[in-house]
């Protein structure tokens, strides 16, 4: 399909065209609408991971709204009299009782509760995998550092939001998690006791804490998440998506499908599939069966109590960290302070500033739109593998009691293996990964210089045997290439006003204040409808 000249204006518009024209007369939408419908998004499976996070968030909002209609965030003690027989007559908070009601006595309550929980797990998981994709391909490099920072913020907030969410039902497991959270708050030097008292409104378990947590979970954090996701996508839209190198792809173009219709269709189809997957999980795979844990009791805990997976690495660091408590001058810095506040503080700070560190070290001040393969940046890939190894050791140690029990290993051995592993394994993995990347690069260079081995042996006239090498063929575009614009206006080029958005906006504003004849000629006849001058 090639670009065609614009057809004459349809004389008798149908309802859709009429609506479009009504909007245009009020907002002047046509240029921006056409530009955005024709916006090109590149195709690669790894670009869909971030989409999964976005769609999980949408599903979280939808199912979450449903749950808020039935959940009662209240610490008030009641005696349970619902349809779950084993807990009949047990004293519990309204929060726990209403969660039981959602699970047993509300139509479609349990399925939406479980979809909500699975979606939360998927949300944080897809953010993490998306983060790794962005890291290992160098997508965070200039000009996209700000979006990296927003992404790290989304990751941290996603973890907090998940923790707040599974702490709300006030069951034994979530209460135990909150008890640990209050101990962590209490461990902050100087202000810790006050911090804990302010958050929980008194000594643990505090006074009416669940309503506060509820506001954090359904208003405060989701609001920030929504704003940050909007900024994340807006920046992505404005800066255009990165792409892997390929035939015809340069630093100065994007090759892929237009938003309308193929990209929009595929994305909405993908959203539906993510939703379907979560619906299946929510219906068939039990998650967080709070009725099995019982209401919170500060004197009870179930063995092998495990947080949701994204808290696991903090649980692990807490288990592994040696009992280093600093005492002196009448004060204490508790051991729990280091692995739960200092360590994640360092980890997330390093994560956030990584793009700036790398740019500083490599002296790379250029803007990049083409991605790198992990092997092309051996040190970065090695550092990523270092971080993943460290994270995994902590994460596995978060369940070291379960592993010790399942495989009949001594728990102390598991703890020591985790302590040693967290220090020893990451450097080894860094070294091996870096080496692997360099070897892969060498092999690529080898193929580039000598071609691919064909397995065909030739005998030369002098009797020598040689293997035939064939040059590796360059990759081929999947589909025919077409220009972005379907319909070209005679004077508007590719539909983009020259220059950045800011400049276009600036011209639009300044155009409002100058005489009509000073303005640049508009491509369409609509400019004649502007008021003469704006004074």
């Amino acid at each position: 399909m090639t670009t065609v000249p614009p057809p004459p204006l349809v004389k008798r518009p149908g309802p859709v065209r009429a609506l479009n024209r009504a909007a245009d007369e009020r907002f002047g939408t046509q240029g921006a609408l056409r530009r955005n419908l024709n916006k090109v998004f590149p195709d690669h499976w790894s670009f869909m991971i971030g989409e999964i996070a976005l769609y999980s968030f949408v599903i979280l909002v939808l199912t979450g709204i449903y749950l808020t209609l039935f959940f009662d965030p209240s610490n008030t003690e009641v005696v349970y009299d619902g349809s779950y027989v084993p807990l009949k007559g047990v004293e519990m908070s309204r929060a726990y009782a209403s969660t039981l009601e959602i699970s047993f006595d509300t139509r479609a309550g349990l399925v939406f509760r479980q979809i909500h929980h699975w979606a939360a797990l998927l949300f944080v998981a897809s953010i993490l995998v998306h983060l790794m994709r962005v890291f290992f391909t160098g997508a965070f490099r200039k000009p996209r550092e700000v979006n990296w920072l927003i992404g790290v913020g989304l990751f941290v907030l996603g973890i907090l939001e998940g923790f707040a969410g599974y702490s709300l039902p006030d069951d034994l497991l979530s209460g135990t998690g909150l008890r640990i959270a209050s101990s962590i708050a209490q461990s902050i030097p100087v202000v810790g006791t006050w911090a804990s008292f302010l958050v929980f409104n008194g000594e643990w378990p505090g006074e009416n804490f669940i309503p506060r947590l509820y506001v954090v979970h359904i208003l405060l954090v989701p609001g920030i998440l929504l704003a940050l996701i909007g900024a994340h996508l807006g920046i992505l839209w404005h800066q255009k998506h990165t792409d892997f190198p390929g035939p015809g792809k340069t630093e100065h173009n994007v090759v892929g499908h237009r938003v309308f219709p193929v990209f929009a269709a595929k994305s909405s189809g993908f959203f539906m599939l993510v939703f379907a997957m979560l619906a299946l999980l929510g219906g068939l795979a039990q998650i967080n069966p709070i009725w099995a844990f019982g209401p919170y009791d500060p004197a009870n805990v179930s063995s092998a109590s495990q947080p949701d997976w994204y808290i696991g690495f903090l649980d692990g660091s807490t288990r592994l960290f040696p009992p280093w408590e600093f005492r002196g001058l009448g004060h204490t810095v508790p051991a729990v302070f280091w692995p739960t506040l200092i360590l994640p503080g360092i980890l997330f700070t390093l994560l956030a500033v990584y793009p700036f560190i790398e740019a500083k070290v490599t002296g790379d001040k250029e803007s990049h739109n083409l991605l790198q393969r992990p092997r092309e940046a051996p040190t970065r890939t090695g550092l990523g593998a270092f971080a993943i190894t460290f994270y995994l050791v902590l994460w596995i140690s978060g369940g070291n009691d379960v592993i010790a029990k399942t495989f009949d290993i001594s728990l102390n051995a598991m703890t020591w293996a985790g302590r040693v592993g967290a220090i020893v394994l990451p450097p080894i993995v860094f070294y091996l990964t870096r080496k692997l990347c360099i070897h892969l690069q060498e092999r690529d260079r080898e193929i580039a210089e000598h071609g691919i081995e064909t397995g065909i042996i030739q005998q030369l006239p002098n009797g020598e045997f040689v293997e035939e090498h064939r040059p590796k063929l360059p990759p081929v575009p999947d589909h025919p290439r077409v220009p972005t614009d379907r319909v070209a206006l005679p004077s508007a080029g590719d539909g983009h006003a020259k220059g950045a958005l800011v400049r276009r906006a600036g011209r639009a504003v300044s155009g409002f204040f100058v005489e009509e004849e000073e303005r640049q000629p508009e491509p369409t006849g609509s400019s004649s409808q502007h008021p003469e001058g704006g004074h």
């Binding site: 340069t250 539906m272 500060p298 204490t332 081929v476 025919p480």
Partner: protein, 401 residues
Amino acid sequence: MSKQDDDNAGPGAPDDSGGSIFDRAKHPVKPSGQPAPGSDVSAGGPELSQGHDDGPERLGTPEHQTDATRAGSTVLLAEPPERGVGVRDPHAEALDRRAERRAERQAAFWFVISIIGTVGFVVTNFVGDKHKEYYTPALGAALALAVGGIGFGIIIWAKRLMPHEEAVQERHPFRSADEEIAATEETVALGYADTGLARRPLIRRTLLGAGTVLGALLVVPLLNLTNRKPGKQLGHTHWVKGARLVTGEGTPVRLGDISIGGIETVFPAVPVTEPDGRVRYEPQLTLHQKADSATVLIRLGPDENRPRPGRENWAYDGHVAYSKICTHAGCPVSLYEAQTHHLLCPCHQSVFDVLDGCRAIFGPASRSLPQLAIDVDADGYFIARDGDFTEPIGPAFWERS
């Protein structure tokens, strides 16, 4: 469309011959960096100097088809190298009317499945019995069909019936032109000059001060979050002198209730003197009371206990009582190994040695569990002999020495 483009791809290509993906990564297209318009951007085949027909004798097996060789291998040997490689073959649907109909029917099939799923969801929701086991799985499966049907249908439609072509869009640098930057900076500078802030330090300083004070006002709502000053609260529990040790159900524990190797979680029941002079014991079993007063009462074998200096008479007949709240992160220390006399916290695997004053012997906890001095009253019930623990229970904090 596709057929034509396919043919066009050949001639325009040979000037662009990269060796491998590695080279292409470094120099993705012509050094000019400009994408060729239309189908011309498709890569061409390299110039190959193959003289295989009149070359030396060939031994060995025919080559294996791999992804890397697929595009060119058979073509390459049979046809002149300038022929090159084109885009992927168009899908059957673009050429074959029957294949197109088939794809259409498949998409429509999934949309119908979605309708069935939605109806199934509605019916299950209203007619189904929510107390039956099938209810939630049926709802989940029906919802999955309802949304998944639309998902599959749309994707089949998009992938097999919409035209396959890749649009090429140019990127534009974000940096503005120099004069534009200069003009903007000057605009701001002139505006700032108009405010006169640089010339009027009095306004500048007072405004800055007012802003700072206003910012500090944020502390007020923060402090309003609680009216309970920490004070010495963390140093006290609900144990008082003479309080009986009662179970979670409020039953007082007598000497002999626990056998050797046994353990019981106990809470205080504080003595209240009634108007008629009788003493009543009131169990302290609310969440707040349990949260700091939970205690484990363990019966050790004779002479197994190794009391700390000064605590020789804190135990009674092999019974010892320690705070149940872990000194690490506040979880209840609830696993007792009677063989080794170890108490284990299930949250972070701290281990406490009961025989040695509940010293923390492994894991992240650093302090011993506080001990409660116990005795037995005239009626044979266990009581807290001296009142509260002698040190703060639970996780440490800044003010703790």
